[in-house]
Every structure is written in structure tokens, then in C-alpha cells.
């Protein structure tokens, strides 16, 4: 039974967003473009949902950085993906 809960917890945690994009006032930003990157690869870009969240899996080759951008906001420096999840990124106007 305990193992079942463990698996459930694992499934749930893997489904919840790992990155949140918010503006300076803390409001979530929808449709921000998130590109997972390793040193030499670009993964296909993802977009944030209405809560500003996006699910990024650790993949092979490993993801090292996230490039996060949205029209109307300043480019954010590349985000280190090895930080404890979930990562909250603040985009400035």
C-alpha cells in the first residue's frame, strides 16, 4: 500500500509544473516561451499555461539551462535548470 502511495506521489509530482514564470508584481505570465537547452542542444520550445507554469522533464542529453522570453518583457538570463524545483522566474518589463 505504501509503495502505491509512493508511486502516486511520484506520478503527481512529475505532472505538476516545474517552472513558473511571473512578472514583477508576482502575477503569472501566460504564453511565455520556454526553451530547454543543454550546452549544444535546443529542445522544442514550450509555452506556459494560464498559471504561468510549464512542465519541463529532465531529458537526455541533460537539460542545463532554460531560456525564457515573452514579447514585451526583457530577456531573462539563462536559468540554471539544476536549481531545486519548482523554479520561479521573474520577467521584467
Amino acid at each position: 500500500m505504501r509503495s502505491l502511495f509512493g508511486i502516486l506521489a511520484l506520478v503527481c509530482s512529475s505532472c505538476s509544473p516545474t517552472v513558473f514564470v511571473v512578472d514583477e508584481a508576482g502575477r503569472p505570465i501566460e504564453d511565455a516561451k520556454v526553451i530547454p537547452m543543454s550546452r549544444s542542444f535546443n529542445w522544442p520550445p514550450k509555452e506556459t499555461d494560464e498559471n504561468g507554469g510549464v512542465l519541463v522533464h529532465q531529458d537526455l542529453p541533460t537539460i542545463d539551462y532554460l531560456q525564457i522570453s515573452k514579447a514585451g518583457y526583457r530577456n531573462h538570463p539563462l536559468v540554471n535548470f539544476n536549481l531545486p524545483k519548482p523554479i520561479t522566474v521573474v520577467l521584467k518589463k
Partner: protein
């Protein structure tokens, strides 16, 4: 040719016309002279020795053979540059210092068909009147140097080299000279300096055109391995026949060595990119799309796969998509790139361009010889700036800075290395500026690491 079988897995594509590479990866083939003689080897050398040197030169001129080293200079015309009233000895040098990233054609000839090269050198040396020839081979081919030396000894034993070759009265000695891992030795005057035992600083042209003032200040002809091998086939087929193999002004076959992460092989042109990448090489793997192609070694300008080009001038101009471009010297030059040494590097849509840029700038910063200031300093600066962009520590102005540095190097150096290092950077920024700028941020620290350390130290000291 149908009787030739190749090793399993190495069969040529049906559209491929193998001329120079005929014996590469061939079943039952070895680099011994016996095998080569059984295939009619050295017949053309004998034929050439019965002709007059000028006739050989005329034949090569008629064939329109263009140098396969990268610049594409017509070989026959180069041979004609030796001053007519020359009294000094003439030297022939075979440039086997193949170091252009993405190019790997000479390796196969030197390793698998050395006698083809030696025969080509005998003919060429006879045509230009050289009695001493050197093969400048790069240090990274230790095995090829041994194979070539063995082949030379064999040829000497069979009377195809040395004094009075086959009773013709023509003497020729070929020596192998190993370089020492310097890319700049591929530049012909740099190569000559290196052969003289100095640092390979390229000489300024004029006055040091090798055909007039070259090795030991004597007339010298420097030719690429592939060009010298083509000479054998030109004599066999005749210049008129040879010219029909290619497109006008781009006669003959051409090896285009081809590499990408998921596709690899060697092919012969003229064909279009569509045929090359999709029909012959099988296209990208895993449903990916192709993003960019470097068509002629890393120094040529990168081409985006979704571009269209205006080829031709005035009324003849026609619009071509990237996929319709044929891989020949002139069309690629019109498309703003170059055919160079024929090494095609392909990148698919997952490739991160700042990383590619950084890899290329690291190569040029390492290989710059340091003779001219713009190139020596500029290549290192480009390396540092592209390091920053790749690490995500750059500001948007850094991309502009990088472009400015590249244009400061271009055309301000003694040899073509300056252009070779600047062009890929210029083209990369031109075609992928959005992607590069997207990885930068205004919020990044513009201070250097030393500056940050200094400020930290000063703030920790009590006032």
C-alpha cells in the same frame, strides 16, 4: 567499372561517379604497387613522359581542372605561371595538410591509394619541370606517412621514380615531409615556410607568388592531393572528354565529403542539396528538420535551409531555394558562400547555434598563427565573446561587438586565414541573429571576473 565491388556497407550511391575514389573501400584492394599496376597503373605517367611538358600543361588547361584545395584556382593556369626564363630548380609540393574542419577526402587517398597520388605527381612534376617533389603531410596522419614512404620506395624499385624514369631521361625524387599539427600550413606560402624549417607565417603576395618565388626562393607549384590525382584521369580521358563530366566552368567530378550527426558518406557532385541531403544521404533522422548547412569546410559561410537566393545577374537572375542550389564553385559563390574544400556539415533543428559558433571560434583562436594583429587578437576576442554568449552571460550588445570584431579582421591580414575566421562568424550572426540575441539579457553582469573580485575585496575592507 561494373566489375568493381566495394566493401559491404561502403558501396557508393547509384548517382555517384567515382573517379578519384574508385579504389577507396574496394574489395580486395591494398595500397601495394602490384595491385595498382594490375589496374593499368603508371600507364598515364609513361604516356606523359613521351609527350612534351607543354602538351601536358595544355591538356590540363583544356580540362579546366580547378584546384581542389579550397580556393578553386585553375591548375593548368597555375602551372603556366613559372617564369619562362627561369634558371633555378623548380619544386613541386603536394599539399596533404588537410585540416579544414569537415573535410576528409585526402585521408582516403593517402591511406588507400597512394600510387594514384604518386603517378599524378610524376606527371605534374614532368609538366612543370620539377626534379624534387615533397609531400607535405599533416602530423595527424602518422600511418599515412608510413604508407606513402613505403609506396615511394616501391615505385622507386619499379623504376617509376628516381634517376632516368623508364628510360625517358627524366629524374624525380619524392620525399615525405611531416608537418606538426598547424592548420596554417595548409596555406601554400605558410606551407613553404614550414618546409623551410621556420614558423609557418604566410608570406605576403605579391611578391611571393610561389610559382615565381616559392620554396628556397625558387619557383614552386603547390597542389592539393585531389588535384594531382585528377591529372592522371585527365590524361586518360583527354581534357575535352574530362570537361563533360561536370558543369561548365566546374569540370570533373568533385568529392564532397559529407557529415552530420546522423548521416555520413562521401559523394561526387554536381548535384543539388535536395539530392545530396535527402536522396543520397537519407535525410535527417527522427522526423527532425534541417536547420543549417556549412557547404565547404568550416570557413565557408553557413546557409540557412529555408533561404532563397538570387542566382545570376540582370535578366538571367533566377530565384532558387536552398534545396535547388547545385554544389559547384560558382553557384555557391553567388549564394554568398563557397564550395571550399567540399566538406559539408549539416545541422538539424535541435542544434544550438551559439554552441556551434563557439566551437568554430575556438578552432580559429587556436590555429591563428599570430603574424597579423587583427587576426591574432581578433580571433581570441571572438572566442571570449562567443564563450560569454554560450554561457548565457552576454548582453545583447555583445552580438554586435562580435560582428564588429569579425568585420575588423576581414581583409586586413596577409593570408586568407583572416577571412576564414571572420566569415563563419559574420554569416552566423547574419543568419541567426535572433537566436543569438535571444540567449542574451540586459540583466547580465557586464563586469569582468577580475572586476567583481576586486569590488568584493574592496567592500570587505573596513573603511
Amino acid at each position: 567499372m561494373s566489375d568493381i565491388t566495394y566493401l559491404p556497407g561502403k558501396e557508393p550511391h547509384e548517382k555517384e561517379h567515382r573517379l578519384i575514389f574508385r579504389n577507396v573501400d574496394r574489395k580486395g584492394w591494398n595500397p601495394k604497387i602490384k595491385t595498382y599496376l594490375a589496374e593499368g597503373g603508371y600507364e598515364m605517367a609513361m604516356k606523359a613522359l613521351k609527350m612534351k611538358p607543354q602538351e601536358v600543361i595544355d591538356e590540363v588547361k583544356a580540362s579546366g581542372l580547378r584546384g581542389r584545395g579550397g580556393a578553386g584556382f585553375p591548375t593548368g593556369i597555375k602551372w603556366g605561371f613559372i617564369p619562362p626564363n627561369n634558371t633555378k630548380p623548380v619544386y613541386l609540393i603536394c599539399n596533404c595538410d588537410e585540416s579544414e574542419p569537415g573535410t576528409f577526402k585526402d585521408r582516403y587517398i593517402a591511406h588507400q591509394d597512394p600510387h594514384q597520388l604518386i603517378e599524378g605527381m610524376v606527371i605534374s612534376a614532368y609538366a612543370v619541370g620539377a626534379h624534387v617533389a615533397y609531400i607535405y603531410i599533416r602530423e595527424e596522419f602518422p600511418e599515412a606517412a608510413i604508407i606513402l614512404e613505403k609506396a615511394i620506395a616501391e615505385a622507386k624499385k619499379n623504376g617509376f621514380l628516381g634517376k632516368d624514369i623508364q628510360g625517358s631521361g627524366f629524374d624525380l625524387e619524392i620525399y615525405v615531409h611531416r608537418g606538426a599539427a598547424a592548420y596554417i600550413c595548409g596555406e601554400e606560402t605558410g606551407l613553404i615556410e614550414s618546409l623551410e624549417g621556420k614558423r609557418p607565417y604566410p608570406r605576403i603576395k605579391p611578391p611571393y607568388f610561389p610559382a615565381a618565388i616559392g620554396l628556397y626562393m625558387a619557383p614552386t607549384i603547390v597542389n592539393n592531393v585531389e588535384s594531382l590525382c585528377h591529372v592522371v584521369h585527365i590524361l586518360r580521358m583527354g581534357g575535352e572528354e574530362y570537361i563533360k563530366l561536370g558543369t561548365p566552368r566546374n569540370s570533373g567530378t568533385r568529392m564532397s565529403v559529407f557529415q552530420a550527426m546522423f548521416l555520413r558518406g562521401t559523394v561526387a557532385v554536381p548535384i543539388t542539396f535536395q539530392e545530396l541531403l535527402y536522396d543520397m544521404c537519407g535525410g535527417p533522422k527522427d522526423g527532425r528538420t534541417l536547420k543549417a548547412v556549412i557547404p565547404g569546410g568550416s570557413s565557408s559561410k553557413i546557409l540557412r535551409c529555408n533561404e532563397t537566393f538570387q542566382i545570376g545577374r540582370g535578366d538571367d537572375a533566377e530565384e532558387m531555394t536552398f534545396w535547388q542550389l547545385p554544389l559547384d564553385f560558382d553557384t555557391l559563390a553567388a549564394a554568398g558562400s563557397m564550395a571550399g574544400s567540399g566538406g559539408v556539415i549539416v545541422m538539424d533543428d535541435t542544434r544550438r547555434m551559439s554552441w556551434v559558433l563557439n566551437n568554430i571560434t575556438h578552432f580559429y583562436a587556436h590555429e591563428s598563427c599570430g603574424q597579423c594583429t587583427p587576426c591574432r587578437e581578433g580571433s581570441t576576442w571572438m572566442k571570449k565573446v562567443s564563450d560569454r554568449i554560450e554561457d548565457g552571460k552576454a548582453t545583447p550588445t555583445d552580438v554586435q561587438v562580435l560582428e564588429d570584431i569579425a568585420y575588423q579582421i576581414d581583409g586586413k591580414t596577409v593570408c586568407a586565414f583572416g577571412e576564414a575566421s571572420a566569415w563563419p562568424v559574420e554569416a552566423m550572426i547574419d543568419k541567426f541573429r535572433d537566436e543569438l540575441v535571444g540567449e542574451t539579457s540586459d540583466d547580465n553582469d557586464t563586469r569582468s571576473a577580475e572586476r567583481i573580485a576586486q569590488e568584493q575585496f574592496l567592500s570587505s575592507v573596513p573603511q
